[in-house]
């Protein structure tokens, strides 16, 4: 053993030849990397490059793809559905922040103070996350029954509020969609905050008490600053996630009524897979590239702006 490793060491100082590569375990290294190279090459790196190429091509599978420059992007600016989808997606993102950002934080802070059966609290909060989203959407569709006998409308009638149209009116459809999405996702945010809260060093609270801080003082001066990195990250991740929302509006309202819940990803889906005047892969990839560029730009600006604040 010692002689062979000595031989390897000597050969490394000489020129690298195929033989030294084989002796040094090169083939084994490559063999272990092979599944990743094949899978990522075919199903990740390849398609990413391809999507950039396709956005400047016209692809129809009958003739060879032709280079069309920025025609696909220009076609997007002429499509009246694009601004509607952008506005709806932004509306979804803002509502999802209002519903799903502060409340999980409050719940997590309260839960971190629970001294007994904290596991039960966590399990209850997380349970909706493991329900398949298709099931939760189709279940909530039932709850949103707009007739006076519908489940939510029955509950509202107990407190004297008349029946609401929920997903059947353009005014209330988007908040209804966001409510389901929040139900399905809020639990994991709570657990992430809770994990961050339990790793706050207890000495900090001791020190704050020595300095005379009360309960609110400790929350304001210790808990929230300690959570800042996690809060900053969950914010940007939520923006990236909600910018690509698809399932909830697609299954609950199919983008309607009157395109009031048509999101960007649904529009991409329509261009690529549901277009009555022919599938338009070029336009679909062009729109996804624009969305990705916007998110990249947004993240860069966001991290620049919050840099001083997060390393503090």
């Amino acid at each position: 053993m010692t002689t062979s490793s000595a031989a390897v060491r000597v050969s490394r100082t000489r020129r690298r030849t195929p033989l030294t590569w084989i002796r040094g375990g090169g083939p084994a290294n490559l063999l272990f990397l092979l599944p990743m190279i094949v899978i990522f090459g075919v199903f990740s790196w390849g398609p990413i490059v391809e999507s950039v190429v396709m956005s400047v091509q016209h692809t129809n599978f009958v003739t060879a793809p032709t280079f069309v420059g920025f025609d696909n992007f220009l076609a997007l600016f002429r499509d009246p559905l694009v601004p509607i989808a952008v506005r709806n997606t932004a509306y979804f993102a803002v509502l999802a922040l209002i519903f799903g950002y502060p409340i999980p934080l409050i719940v997590a802070v309260l839960m971190s103070e629970v001294r007994r059966a904290r596991g039960l609290f966590s399990a209850l909060a997380y349970l909706p996350v493991v329900v398949p989203p298709v099931v939760s959407v189709l279940l909530w569709q039932r709850f949103y029954d707009a007739s006076p006998r519908g489940l939510f409308n029955t509950v509202l009638s107990w407190v004297g509020i008349g029946p609401q149209p929920w997903i059947q009116s353009a005014a209330t459809s988007m908040p209804s969609v966001v409510l389901v999405a929040t139900w399905a996702a809020a639990g994991s945010t709570v657990i992430i905050y809770l994990a961050a809260l339990t790793s706050v060093p207890p000495e900090l609270y001791d020190a704050a008490e020595v300095d005379g801080a009360g309960l609110w003082g400790k929350i304001w001066h210790v808990t929230l600053p300690q959570l800042r990195p996690v809060l900053l990250i969950t914010f940007i991740l939520q923006i990236i996630g909600t910018a690509q929302v698809f399932l909830e509006p697609f299954l609950l309202t199919f983008g309607g009524p009157a395109n009031s819940t048509l999101t960007i990803l649904q529009l991409i889906f329509r261009y690529a897979f549901q277009n009555s005047i022919g599938l338009d892969y070029g336009k679909a990839t062009a729109l996804s590239i624009l969305l990705a560029l916007f998110l990249a730009l947004f993240s860069v600006v966001y991290f620049r702006l919050t840099k001083a604040w997060s390393t503090n």
Partner: protein
């Protein structure tokens, strides 16, 4: 449970109480005002969490065995005219949810296997074997974390439609879901980090004892990595069960569709009671998995935030 383990637990709990403190200190807790306020808030929180977390699911379980007319007329009444167990049998046999149930398991198991294979071999090569070019691949994998999934949708679909080398489409085969599932950079990140933190002296010792790279992988690294393999497995199986858009695109034949794809399609032609029974059947396995492996799930969820952060 023996007396010793009971005592053990009691000791451990007391030790935990002393070391573990939250925002409110132990002396805070001894003040009656704080104690009463906190307890009230926690009780309200518990009730709200029960309504939020279990309420809708209990309603679904109830309605799955309630006659359709009762669910329509009085959704909140509990069995006003008895129950209707035939919903479940009809959903499973006549509507044929049983087929999609098995498909879902098959999709989840295959995705899990491919993800574990790719993540462990790649993690081993990048973190333990560390060839000179490892940083390049590491960078390429991490870079995909910053590409939003939407960019992949159309070209990935075309790749599955015309895969390289194979010569025929993968549409309507499980491979169309299994193989792309393996291209998960998050898994590789988790596994590589874990392997990086394993003590390297053990690898050196094993090598000195004559273990080759394969032996080292199978007999040393994998057995030491059970915690992270559990986390990756939880993510893999639950995500496969939850996925909708991708399987909907590539699995168009009902005979191979998983539940998530089939359910919206049968909704309009299915009796409401039967449909709700089908929904209830669809959520049972993920919920049972969660209840059994609760700790692992919650640790994984917390870890997700830690890694992202």
């Amino acid at each position: 449970m023996t007396a010793a383990t009971v005592r053990d637990r009691a000791v451990r709990r007391r030790a935990l109480d002393q070391s573990d403190r939250g925002i409110a200190s132990h002396s805070d807790w001894r003040r009656p005002g704080v104690w009463l306020g906190m307890s009230t808030v926690h009780l309200i929180l518990l009730i709200l969490l029960i309504l939020w977390g279990v309420g809708p699911l209990l309603w679904l379980l109830k309605s799955a065995v309630t006659p359709t007319q009762d669910t329509l007329q009085a959704p909140l009444a509990v069995f006003p005219h008895g129950w209707d167990w035939s919903n479940v049998a009809t959903a499973w046999n006549t509507v044929g949810i049983g087929v999609q149930f098995l498909n879902t398991i098959w999709v989840a198991v295959g995705s899990w296997f491919v993800q574990l294979l790719v993540a462990t071999t790649a993690g081993y090569a990048l973190a333990v074997l560390r060839p000179k070019y490892a940083p390049i691949f590491n960078g390429l994998v991490l870079a995909t974390l910053f590409v939003p999934g939407v960019v992949l949708l159309v070209p990935l679909y075309l790749t599955v439609l015309h895969p390289p080398l194979i010569g025929h489409s993968l549409i309507d085969t499980f491979w169309a879901v299994w193989l792309p599932a393996g291209a998960n950079a998050f898994n590789i990140l988790l596994v590589t980090r874990f392997f990086n933190n394993l003590p390297r002296e053990i690898f050196e010792a094993a090598r000195t004892d004559g273990a080759g790279p394969f032996r080292l992988f199978w007999s040393i690294v994998l057995p030491m990595s059970r915690p992270i393999l559990g986390v990756v497995s939880v993510f893999a199986i639950i995500n496969a069960w939850k996925d909708y858009l991708w399987p909907r695109l590539v699995l168009t034949n009902p005979a191979v569709q998983p539940l998530s794809v089939r359910l919206p399609n049968i909704q309009s032609q299915t009796d409401l009671g039967v449909f709700l029974a089908a929904l209830a059947i669809s959520m049972i396995i993920p919920i049972v998995l969660f209840l059994v492996f609760q700790r692992l799930f919650l640790r994984s969820a917390g870890l997700g935030g830690a890694v992202k952060g």
